[in-house]
Chain length 339, copies 2
Amino acid sequence: MNYILKNENAIFYECGYSCDNAIFLKLGSENFFITDSRYTIEASLSVQNAEVIIDKDLITKANELIEKSKIKVLNFDPKEWSLFHFEKLKRSLEVHFSQKIDFSFHKRAIKTPDEISLLGRACQLGSEAFERLARDFSLNGIDLSEKELNFRAKSILSSMGEYDLSFEPIVAINENSAKPHALPTSKRVQKSDLILVDAGLKYKRYCSDRTRCVEMQDNFHFNIEQTFSSSKIQKIYDSVKKAHDESISKARVGMKAKEIDKIARDVITNDGFGELFIHSTGHGVGLDIHEFPFISQTSEMIIEDGMVFTIEPGIYIENEFGIRIEDCVVMENGKARIL
Amino acid sequence: MNYILKNENAIFYECGYSCDNAIFLKLGSENFFITDSRYTIEASLSVQNAEVIIDKDLITKANELIEKSKIKVLNFDPKEWSLFHFEKLKRSLEVHFSQKIDFSFHKRAIKTPDEISLLGRACQLGSEAFERLARDFSLNGIDLSEKELNFRAKSILSSMGEYDLSFEPIVAINENSAKPHALPTSKRVQKSDLILVDAGLKYKRYCSDRTRCVEMQDNFHFNIEQTFSSSKIQKIYDSVKKAHDESISKARVGMKAKEIDKIARDVITNDGFGELFIHSTGHGVGLDIHEFPFISQTSEMIIEDGMVFTIEPGIYIENEFGIRIEDCVVMENGKARIL
């Protein structure tokens, strides 16, 4: 199958290297990695199983290679290409461009043992960083703003810049935790406040993702067992934890992704909070922080061994607080194991 | 003129707010800002001159509004839209979609007085951060790796997370400075090493951008006057500085952008280093870190009062070192003033 890729992670998956200006082409038995002269040295050292081609104008170069190859059909993902670039690519070519939506996501849905070990390492480093974060916040956190906590989280998560982050971390206090995508404010944390932290880091480009909630106090930790002074928060926490635990323990290879979502959702609905669980149960994790399989109410994707995804049920009470608990799991021998 | 926007900065420019999932529509005299329910509160508080519409499926909603408006022509920028989204948008609509490449960049090329004052503030904060960086590096820098220096640069530039950065800063030592887009390595800085820092921060979404080169020593500063132990480096530095100074002092409203590029390039070419000046002289700066006008060898854009752009000539000797000096300027009363 012939194809052309433009997305950075899609390209990395094919040849072990990528950068912010690259095209990957598979034309019959030949693979090409096209980039500009800024990346000549790195590309030559790192690209595997593809010929490195340096050119100022990547798309015109791809155009030439496609024409020369005399192939009839070229597959591509219409999500990877702007209309502008796509029109530039296809002009004058007689090849048929065949749309393959989410082409690379489909290829990458089942991870190799090597990928699982990299994801496991990312999750382990992420988990260790959460513990360092707990020590820092409980020693120094009182009176710091969400913005300052967020900065400390980034410093600690990245081990002072050693690792890239999977995404901008979320550090949200009390009512701000009720927003699933909270942005940090100038609000300052006080003793007994609820803190939600959702963060992850990348190890050799593979992402981790984790969420914990805790009550601000001396020597707190980010273990999954938590106690809260407020009985309302405790009740919600226990419901989210039960949904998290049950969907992990009952997930099986052969299920549809939506069945795993339903396990979590049923627990929360039975506890009377169904309408406050306003997002999906999880998403695949790999080179991208959100990839296949999506664990949503509508996903028909069949779960298979080697898939890696988050389980992250949550309950959100507007203007009060939100609780979310998230771990990454890998499907192994038919079951889910927390990474 | 009717138009539809998808790019975050293009949308912010129209209505003073944006987020990572939004569409802006101008249909006759009506303006619409469409986003999803995660942003209901922020959008309602911040969007100006447009009706806020919350929907799960932004494109289908835009489709409905366009159909209802009965307009005949809708302008859009094909660089803002993936082929996938564009096809979803236009399906079944009878309106003519008219391509306007770089639509928002053209609108934003001349800054308003308010924008110039925000850009001035960003540059001032950026410049102060460079001085703090100089103190930190000269006190604590010896034996730190490029990665560690990069992390410290991010911490200081962002004022510990208070400001977003314009881009990932570049902190490059010796031969790594010869790469215009150097990535940080584990290489450790020693006394007398050459350090290049290219960094900027955002103030209320407006970007600053600055580059300085310095020899690592006690109490160094990031002023533009620098002395180097190596006569070769000094000679290159003096040539780059002359190109920087002359293109700023001779830039005039009414010139083509390529004429400003030529002023800088001629200085360096006359000094015998023309082939080592491997990029353009500058780029516009605003909500985007790279926008109109581009100060390149081919840009025919006419320079006008209110334009803000970088002047950043550079000379790069592979495997040895690179020198670049960069400031942001605004065109005022026909001339360039450093921000």
